[in-house]
Amino acid sequence: MSEVRLSGVRAGYGDVEILHGVDLAVPSGGTTAVLGDSGSGKTTLLKVISGFLRPDAGQVQVGGRTVAGDDAWVAPERRGVGYVRQDGGLFPHLSVAGNIAFGLPRTGIARRGRAHRDRVLELLDLVELPADVAERRPDQLSGGQQQRVALARALAPRPDLVLLDEPFSSLDTALRTATREATARALQASGATTLLVTHDQGEAMSFADEIAVLRQGAFGQIAPPRTIYGEPVDAHIASFMGEAIPIHGLASHNQFRCALGNLEAAGFVTRGAVVAILRPEQLRLVAPGEGSVDARVSRVTYFGHDSVADLELVSGTPLKGLRARVVGPEAPAVGDTVGLWVVGPVRVFPG
């Protein structure tokens, strides 16, 4: 069963339509990442699901219940959808405990933070924060801590669905990874279905079971991370998901003939002129003459864990953007001549 199902949803602001009829289903307990550039409609999508924007057409179902469309409308506060925003959106006038307990039922005249003490501590533990932050004010927390509190607050009323709107993008690199991992663990423990919106490919791939690529208000491809990276449906998604070297050549059967020699082809293989997408990590550097073609190293960019070598073919055939990712200490020097070997098939798209 799907926790969230969108069918033919169109939505926008005033006369500007931003979502042009999107379909999406997130299975119960699953984690789906909506990946798209800024302006692609990611936040609009979340607003439609959470109930802050009425779709102009189409239907939204949450937990099998129609919450928008077909004349149905369920107010945001009755949808049971948790929402974590990019900036956390903590209430500045409440303590951490007050924030987390905000969505819990009122219990008489007892102060909320006290009444729900146990639940608050349980949630702080779930998001891996120490119990002593409970009495602090939001502005006394670091960015990563604020995001964790925001998650705890969203999880407190035990929602079946949690929406995450770029919750890690305002954090710096090291904190981002730690917060993302803690968030993933907390969400898994809570069993909530999760929809993450992000513009970061690595984040989407490492966080989600499934990725939905949103571009210009419509989904381009919805598939598990491996599929979407390895078997993109078009050249645009291929280069959107990671560094890609476009190579023009001729296809016949499962062969792709190009300046790098005869390569194994996969994808939409037709006969004739096509474009293939090669990932830099598919190129192996071997001794000169031992590969399918020889190249000269024109530039090396060192990253520590790996290096990227920009290459020019010795034959002189221009091939723009040809580069190889080399792991560890095996990086060549500028001016070296190397042999190139392509590992695995290249994806081929109609030219």
């Binding site: 802050f52 945001p76 506060e77 948790g82 925003r85 006038h93 407190a156 009323p157």
Partner: protein, 546 residues
């Protein structure tokens, strides 16, 4: 008066506090509020909200329309004859001289003091920051009374310039000091690294960026001078505002009064236009993200003593003299009067003043709400138009607004003339920008994102309002209400024209006592006005440091 220039905004915050007309004040940032990370999509405002905001804007523009219609209603030849009389030329010259002398003096004093307090190692800067705002707690006409009662020879241009400069320089000090505090050290340091000395770096990187703050402050001073009545009447220095009130006193010709008011209106528009040109279009905000750093204070060295002496002299002239004189007259009063009656009278007048101030403050907040919601939640050209109209009308002198309301009520709704309602309406029109600005910063402290978060957590509309919006917006809204109420409690000009017979306020009681040269009788009312205005200094000081 654009929202984009923080300097003007800060400047107007000063106006928000002091007793006169002024354009828009600052949008304070509330605690915990963060800068918006992205622009919200514009949502069209509901028709009800748009209609309410339009009605309020129309109400504030009404005085202008009434004055213009009235001024044009007489025979054109007669109007022209009236306007080209030498008397009008004399009034123009008086107004001109006052502006030419006072505005630059306040700029020099305000910028100099702000620079000393915020950029140098002046001892106890916190104390000086408060003292430089303290003149705002002394109504200008009280200060004039103090000077004239000890130095009767001060009448004329000299006395007028002295008192207005000392009373109004905080309007320049406040925005400039606030801006100096927010400026990052980075640019000065870059200038230094490019081989420019410390003084050169200040002049070439800091001073140009003060331009909007200075021009915004100067605008407020100029508008206050055009609207000033009490000080100039005491100094026997005639300008358009005093002439209109005299004309009114000797027998009211509303066409002539409106003609004079029209000239005053044109002068106001002229000042506003000059300010827009002077402010420039330059960007003054810091570019780029990241935390700003405050520069190291400039060591004063052997200039410390002269600097402290200069600031001390300003405080002595602007605050110590009026307060001491009022205190002396209080003592004189208690010695010559049989005690008891005076105190009861004072309490009664204070009560009615506070009553009017509270009602006027509530009215201003209520009238400001639609426009504030429109501006904060549905920004766009329509909202900006509503805002500009409101602020424009509110930068007119109280005498113009009062005259227009009298004319209007006599000819259209006679029942309302000589009622407190008309007076409250005038207060609301005059001080609406203060309320609106405070409401806007209140709403900004409770952004729609937080309301949405509350709804996601199961709160309905009432719950969102009660548990999120009100707790967050309350401090700003309260501050706005207090600013308006304080302004009302020392308002003189419109009150003189509009107060119903039998209604006595502190300003009116003070004024009638000084008119009879009974300085001792005036002192208790002056002291009470100063006491009521002290919170103003505290509220305004927060705008520099927060």
């Amino acid at each position: 008066m654009s929202v984009s220039s923080s300097g003007t905004l800060r400047a107007a915050a000063a106006a928000g506090a002091a007793g006169g007309p002024g354009p828009e004040p600052d949008r304070q940032r509330a605690p915990g509020q963060r800068a918006p990370t992205r622009r919200r999509p514009r949502r069209p405002a509901s028709p009800v909200l748009a209609t309410l905001a339009t009605l309020v804007a129309a109400l504030t523009v009404l005085p202008v329309a009434v004055i213009l219609v009235r001024a044009g209603s007489g025979p054109p030849g007669e109007a022209l004859d009236y306007l080209v009389r030498p008397r009008i030329g004399e009034l123009l010259a008086h107004t001109g001289w006052l502006m030419v002398l006072t505005v630059p003096a306040t700029v020099v004093l305000g910028v100099g003091a702000a620079w000393l307090v915020e950029r140098t190692d002046l001892p106890v800067p916190g104390l000086w920051r408060t003292l430089m705002l303290a003149p705002l707690a002394v109504p200008a006409f009280v200060s004039a009374y103090a000077w004239i009662s000890v130095r009767p020879g001060l009448v004329g241009l000299g006395g007028a310039v002295l008192v207005t400069t000392l009373a109004y320089f905080p309007f320049v000090f406040l925005p400039v000091a606030a801006l100096l505090r927010t400026l990052d050290a980075g640019e000065e340091e870059i200038a230094r690294s490019l081989g420019v000395g410390p003084v050169g770096a200040f002049f070439r990187t800091v001073l140009p960026r003060l331009r909007p703050a200075v021009s915004g402050g100067a605008l407020l001073v100029a508008l206050h001078l055009l609207a000033e009545f009490g000080v100039l009447e005491m100094m026997r220095y005639q300008t358009f505002t005093t002439a209109i009130l005299q004309q009114y006193a000797v027998g009211f010709s509303d066409v002539r009064g409106s003609l004079l008011a029209t000239v005053l209106l044109v002068l106001c528009l002229l000042v506003l236009t000059v300010e827009v040109a002077a402010r420039g279009r330059a960007r003054v905000a810091r570019l780029g993200a990241g935390a700003g750093r405050r520069p190291l204070p400039l060591p004063l060295g052997r200039w410390t003593v002269p600097a402290v002496a200069a600031l001390g002299a300003v405080v002595a002239l602007a605050v110590v003299v009026p307060v001491a004189v009022v205190a002396r007259w209080l003592l004189v009063g208690t010695r010559i009067r049989v005690e008891g009656a005076g105190l009861g009278d004072l309490l009664l007048v204070t009560g009615s003043t506070v009553g009017l101030a509270v009602l006027g403050g509530l009215l201003a907040v209520a009238l400001g709400l639609p426009g504030a919601v429109l501006l904060d939640r549905h920004p766009g050209p329509f909202a900006v138009l509503v805002e500009r109209l409101t602020f424009l009308a509110s930068s007119l002198p109280g005498v113009v607004v009062a005259l227009a309301l009298i004319t209007l009520s006599i000819s259209l709704v006679p029942g309302i003339y000589q009622t407190a309602l008309l007076l409250l309406l005038a207060y609301a029109i005059l001080f609406l920008p203060r309320a609106m600005v405070a409401l806007r910063s209140g709403l900004a402290a409770a952004p729609p994102e937080l309301a949405e978060a509350a709804r996601s957590l199961g709160q309905n509309g009432a719950g969102v309002l009660g548990r999120v919006v009100l707790p967050l917006a309350a401090p700003s809204v309260l501050a706005g209400f207090v600013l308006v109420a304080l302004a009302i409690s020392t308002e003189l000009t419109a009150t003189l024209l509009l107060a119903p017979t039998g209604v006595e306020t502190l300003a009116l009681a003070f004024w009638s006592a000084t008119a009879e040269l009974d300085y001792a009788a005036a002192a208790p009312f002056a002291a009470m006005m100063i006491a009521l205005s002290v919170p103003l200094t505290v509220l305004l000081r927060r705008q520099i440091t927060s």
